[in-house]
């Protein structure tokens, strides 16, 4: 058959593909499950094979693939996950009452459970190497809300990055490898409580990175739709000893840390906030991979900028009482580009200067630009200095939402918020918040001498969260 005899993908239009159940499972399926974009109202026509071919030919000739129903509502993938669990195919790592969940609404009006307790910190490879103040601030806030390390959260060495940065940057990797990594890490989260004497499922994964979050949601969707993919990765997970009762473990929700911050914002503001930030003008940059990948799952709230923007970060600024300022390039990417920040930096820095830093400064006159992802914070933080060479003398402090929250709650700008790793001018912001940069810096330099002697302060007894084979 010539390729032009068929539609792209060869899935829909041949006699082979036209009959009920004759297609690859899950993809524009004809088995009435409607999980690949057809609504649940989709019904089988029960045509004979000949009739189906005839009808398909008619569609090809007259309408082709431009018939996609724009009003068509996407199916909620989670419903199909429950089905798979009922059929004994997978185990769903559930969010139960012990995780003290809060319920929020997503873009499509669906409900999403955000666990607030018993969390497994899934770190980010870019953030930890580069902007460590963001995981540190998160743990500090958790401690100050009374959460007990090793019981209410865990930070362990038995985890890898999601590897999606590499995949999006280089093209090396594939859906199977991404899926295996996802299932490996989340299996570990599921069983991680055991070494502390807890039941399986005690800790629920809290994903720190926007790209991990987007990638995991996308991969979860593929896993649920494709029996073929499940079969392939089952072999790998089996070999790793990471099946439970012979089944794959998939989490009920993929949860981003800024969603945790979003649902905890009022507690943070009422119980921990020490500094009045009403004189601070904040602007927001939300990670593309937070709300543009699998966008139906991103959190929206009608009370936050009228629901026209995803709620996270902005909602925190509001709760802390800062001045929230919108700007015209809010929707734009930061320019990270995965491979670009490493090998084509002129793209990255031009984009971030032209579309983000300059606009945040000129339009919003921002005191700070808050973000929720490793790549974005790095891109916008590090690429300001070079602007001078193009007479773009714009600069704005960049940090993660949780770092700003920690500052507002009185955390030390060096020891906890770790602003010393940032290239953007955080000094001005800190001073404007009424914290002396110079004395904090002097204190920190004294502390470094202590560190040299081996006298190190930890946010918790590290042995608790330091499990895993070495």
């Amino acid at each position: 058959m010539k390729p032009t005899d068929n539609t792209p993908g060869n899935h829909n239009m041949t006699a082979d593909g036209a009959g009920p159940g004759a297609m690859k499972p899950g993809f524009h399926n004809t088995d009435g499950q409607g999980i690949a974009g057809h609504g649940s109202f989709f019904q089988q026509a029960d045509l004979s094979r000949e009739e189906a071919v005839k009808a398909t030919d008619w569609v090809r000739k007259h309408v082709d693939r431009r018939t996609v129903d724009l009003g068509d509502r996407m199916d909620d993938i989670r419903e199909h996950m429950w089905e798979l669990e009922r059929e004994g195919e997978i185990i769903v790592h559930r969010i139960t009452d012990v995780h003290k969940p809060a319920t929020v609404k997503t873009l499509f009006g669906w409900e999403k459970k955000i666990p607030t307790n018993q969390l497994w910190h899934h770190k980010s490879c870019g953030q930890c190497g580069n902007i460590p103040g963001y995981p540190t601030s998160l743990l500090w806030v958790m401690n100050n809300l009374g959460m007990v390390p090793g019981k209410d959260y865990l930070d362990e060495t038995d985890q890898t990055s999601c590897t999606a940065w590499n995949y999006h940057g280089s093209g090396i990797g594939n859906v199977e490898s991404l899926a295996a990594v996802f299932l490996r890490n989340f299996h570990q989260a599921y069983v991680s409580g055991k070494q502390h004497g807890f039941e399986a499922g005690h800790f629920f994964p809290l994903v720190h990175c926007g790209t991990s979050f987007g990638n995991y949601k996308e991969i979860r969707k593929y896993l649920i739709e494709s029996a073929e993919l499940r079969e392939k990765v089952k072999k790998i997970l089996g070999k790793l000893g990471r099946l439970v009762d012979g089944k794959l473990v998939i989490p009920e929700e993929i949860v981003h840390y800024s969603e945790w911050v979003h649902v905890m914002r009022n507690r943070i503001a009422s119980e921990l906030q020490k500094i009045d930030v009403s004189n601070i003008r904040t602007t927001t940059h939300v990670a593309c991979h937070y709300y543009k990948m699998v966008h139906e799952d991103a959190v929206y709230d009608p009370d936050v900028l009228g629901g026209n923007r995803t709620a996270i970060i902005t909602s925190l600024s509001q709760a802390l009482g800062a001045q929230v300022i919108d700007y015209s390039t809010w929707y734009d990417c930061c320019g990270f580009g995965f491979r670009h920040i490493i090998s084509e930096r002129e793209f990255t820095r031009s984009f971030t200067m032209d579309r983000k830093i300059k606009v945040a400064r000129q339009e919003a006159n921002a005191d700070v630009l808050l973000a929720n992802d490793t790549g974005c914070v790095t891109t916008m933080d590090k690429n300001q200095w070079i602007g001078k060479s193009h007479e773009q003398n714009y600069s704005v402090p960049i940090m993660a939402d949780i770092q700003f929250a920690a500052l507002a709650c009185g955390a030390d700008p060096f020891k906890i918020v770790q602003l010393q790793w940032h290239a953007s001018p955080c000094e001005d912001l800190v001073e404007k918040m009424g914290i002396s940069w110079d004395s904090a810096k002097a204190r920190f330099q004294e502390y470094l001498k202590e560190v040299e002697q081996g006298n190190i302060d930890y946010l918790y007894n590290p042995e608790l969260a330091y499990g895993g084979a070495k």
Binding site: P3, P8, G9, N10, H11, F27, A36, G37, D64, R65, R66, V68, S124, C125, G126, Q127, C128, G129, N130, P132, W140, D155, T157, D158, T160, T163, W165, N166, Y167, G169, S170, N174, A180, V181, R184, I236, L240, C288, K292, M293, H295, Y331, C333, G337, I342, S343, R345, S350, F351, K382, N383, W385, I386, K415, Q418, W421, L448, D457, P462, Y466
Partner: protein, 221 residues
């Protein structure tokens, strides 16, 4: 050439990412790469949709590498297309076929790749030094000091590392290697950059041995 095109459209994601195209250009209007390169997501979608095999091959020589993988296009497209997702498929196929464009693009990625494949981490503190990123300015850190001590001053123990972003247990890394092997990632790497592959292979063998030794030690106890 035909094989390359067939590989693209036989990817199981293809039907997710390409549903038809109104030619409205919304994707291109919001695409960061379209601002800076001779690149348009609309063009990618149209090319695949109209099945122009030669031109598809041409865009794979260079243009697909312009995409920043931000997925703004996917969130905006009224037809639920994902030009960025299609680009991801095309990049994978470019690698599978050992295309020169893929090799060129991967070269500067070597160091990151080495970290990732061997440790399961991607960016480490020792990579973020002024001599690697001169355009980031003279003071990409606000406090002078030895990197090791500065990292030790982070109050989270798993982060007190210099050559990985966080401490990764040996067992975890070894599991990672199994994934790379079983999913063909190491094979792709070998085709793309033999030297890098050799270095990585040696490293992996060494780590595996370390792990075996460790397991034996545990058994002896």
């Amino acid at each position: 050439m035909q094989q390359i095109f067939d590989d693209i459209r036989s990817d199981f994601r293809y039907d997710h990412e390409l549903n038809g195209c109104l030619n409205c250009g919304i994707c291109t209007a919001t695409c960061p790469s379209a601002h800076f390169y001779d690149y348009s997501p609309r063009e990618i979608v149209q090319l695949l949709w109209t099945e122009n095999v030669e031109q598809v091959y041409d865009v794979m020589q260079e243009k697909i590498w312009a995409c920043a993988q931000c997925m703004t296009c996917a969130a905006r497209c009224p037809f639920k297309n994902s030009p960025g997702g299609l680009v991801a498929i095309m990049r994978e196929v470019a690698i599978k076929h050992g295309m020169q464009s893929a090799k060129d693009v991967l070269r500067p990625f070597g160091r990151v790749m080495l970290k990732l494949i061997t440790t399961g981490n991607q960016l480490s503190p020792d990579m973020i030094q002024p001599d690697h990123f001169p355009d980031w300015g003279p003071n990409i850190q606000k406090v002078e000091g030895d990197l090791k001590i500065l990292r030790k001053a982070i109050p989270v123990k798993t982060l007190q590392t210099v050559d990985t972003a966080w401490e990764v247990s040996l067992k975890t890394s070894v599991e990672m290697y199994t994934i790379w092997e079983m999913t063909g990632v190491l094979k792709s790497l070998e085709m793309m950059d033999e030297n890098l592959f050799d270095v990585i292979e040696d490293f992996i063998d060494e780590k595996k041995e370390d792990y075996e030794d460790w397991l034996e030690e545990q058994g002896d106890d």
